[in-house]
Subunit: 334 residues, 2 copies
């Protein structure tokens, strides 16, 4: 009888587990999304490609989803956070570079002269990036980024930059992974600037982060190998560079792509042009109160041509104000 009792207990435990699993699958996986067309389109797509008996079924190995970072997973205002990092870094290094007091674009940074900084253009920006991002080993750079992320605060929200990530997108990343997707970041930002936080914040490991990068060089220093970051561009993962980066790093065409600006247009086009069911989504920044509102005329994160193409092709355009119940995890959702 003892055996039978134990067996009955096992059965009860199994039933309980099955019941709880049942509950888990009926729980809304996207609670920060309002019940609008955007959410319905996501759920419909995921349902279709994971339905083994459906015509749109996609094998798990082919379920590649790519996400832009700036403006898609976290905010990008007042300017890209990596540029704010570069500015802080220039200021920190200034005592070792007295010549910067009289040389542009460094002078502009040290004097908080936005106009002079803007006037230095792309060339000036590149100089700032190289001075702040090169000249150290990869291990040293990782530490510098980690310290900055742990201490720097966003000027408007007075919080660490890693709190400026969109709660609805975090839920979307998890929802896709729960459905067998492999999630990748494909960003114009620096790959070694992102990797120190993507695993903890997004659940995306370093090997699934694709971004722009500078050259690195293998060297032996006191018998120990190091990789030294050099002041020369290796790869720009933006615009037409995004499909190139996807091919170089993933080697497989995504079936879903998520962006927010014209810099993501080619990535969405490349994703859309594959066979079978596809999903393309743009985050449209429409919420000046809770975040920012900008599109066709913004210098940072301009959304113009891609918005036209999304309308023409029927891609999903998220209206942040209407579609998202909450923007950031730190807000209290009403």
């Amino acid at each position: 009888m003892k055996t039978i009792h134990r067996a009955t207990d096992t059965l009860l435990a199994l039933l309980l587990v099955a019941f709880m699993a049942g509950c888990a699958t009926t729980r809304d996986p996207l609670p920060s999304w309002n019940q609008t067309a955007s959410k319905a389109a996501i759920v419909e797509f995921v349902g279709a490609v994971t339905d083994k008996n459906g015509k749109d079924y996609v094998e798990p190995v082919e379920r590649i989803a790519v996400f832009d970072n700036d403006g898609t997973l976290w905010s990008e205002k007042p300017v890209y956070f990596q540029l704010l990092f570069a500015i802080d870094r220039i200021k920190a290094l200034a005592p070792q570079h007295p010549e910067w007091k009289t040389t542009q674009p460094f002078k502009a940074v040290l004097e908080n002269d936005v106009k002079a900084l803007a006037a230095s253009g792309e060339k000036g920006l590149l100089q700032l990036v190289m001075a702040s991002h090169a000249g150290m080993t990869t291990d040293e750079f990782e530490q510098i980024v980690k310290v900055w992320l742990a201490t720097a605060k966003h000027p408007r929200f007075k919080r660490p930059y890693t709190e400026l990530v969109y709660q609805p997108m975090l839920e979307l990343l998890q929802y896709l992974r729960d459905n067998g997707f492999k999630t990748f970041i494909v960003s114009g930002g620096g790959v070694e600037f992102m990797r120190p936080f993507t695993e903890e914040i997004y659940g995306i490991p370093p090997e699934q982060v694709i971004g722009s990068s500078i050259k690195t060089k293998f060297e032996m220093r006191h018998g120990k190998p190091v990789l030294v970051r050099e002041p020369e561009i290796f790869f720009i993962d933006d615009k037409a560079g995004k499909p190139v980066g996807i091919q170089k790093f993933i080697g497989r065409r995504p079936i879903a792509a998520f962006g927010n600006s014209d810099g993501d247009l080619q990535m969405l086009q490349w994703t859309a042009a594959g066979d079978g069911k596809r999903f393309m989504l743009l985050v449209h920044h429409t919420d000046a109160e809770r975040e920012w509102a900008y599109d066709r005329h913004s210098k940072i994160g301009r959304l113009d041509k891609a918005l036209d193409e999304a309308e023409k092709r029927g891609w999903t355009v998220v209206d942040m104000k209407k579609d998202w119940k909450g923007i950031f995890a730190f807000e209290k959702v009403k």
Copy 2:
């Protein structure tokens, strides 16, 4: 009583499953490896980094293992298989290039003139690679490689090249994955030459294959986006390039590295220099009968400096003749 019977059945089924799982873990995961020091070192390492209560435990996300391809996972004689592909491709394209009949290094290829081909040196080799690997879209190139792999035969073994993979290494790849490792290829070979077969043959998906590559360019052709392969080097993933490639593509230092030649030395040094327990292995080609025997004086796959360093540092050196019961899956293991 019916419920109790069903419960008892469930219990029996569970016991059966547990028993079978027990059997599976005691089965030798490396049956093609003889019981030598090499095998013992592998098993000891995997046991140590997966033992949750041991001092050498490594979290699964950090269990990155990198493998060279040519000479480590499949053969590389008489020359790298990709070079044989390039030669076949040049011959196939020759009718469209009458000028090749009188121009080196193409003339040498068309006339099977090994001496003239060797005389054309690295510059000639590069010309052959570009003529055979560039000028088409990535999708077109993938098809060309697939057709070649399906039809070309190795000159000595008269079998498809994908059968020239080492059975002991296939078992090792699977053994590592079964123990929570993520396995990557880090090869000097072309990444888009390898990806069409790595998933099926090695169980390694395209996004875990790192290799050399040429530039690609995003273009719209008749309203459809394509990536066009251009005759210009993008990245050489060999020697000091291997740690650079690992950092660019994986962004995490491996804890285990497997190679066979001086081209793998820096990858093994980079792996060895990390904190905690590490495993470095070189495949030493010592079996002229079943495969090939070569090391310090070979033009292809030279193993000289790396062999010295392995001896000095106590890295594992596989003696193919002694350590491997079988070399290829198609052989009958005695």
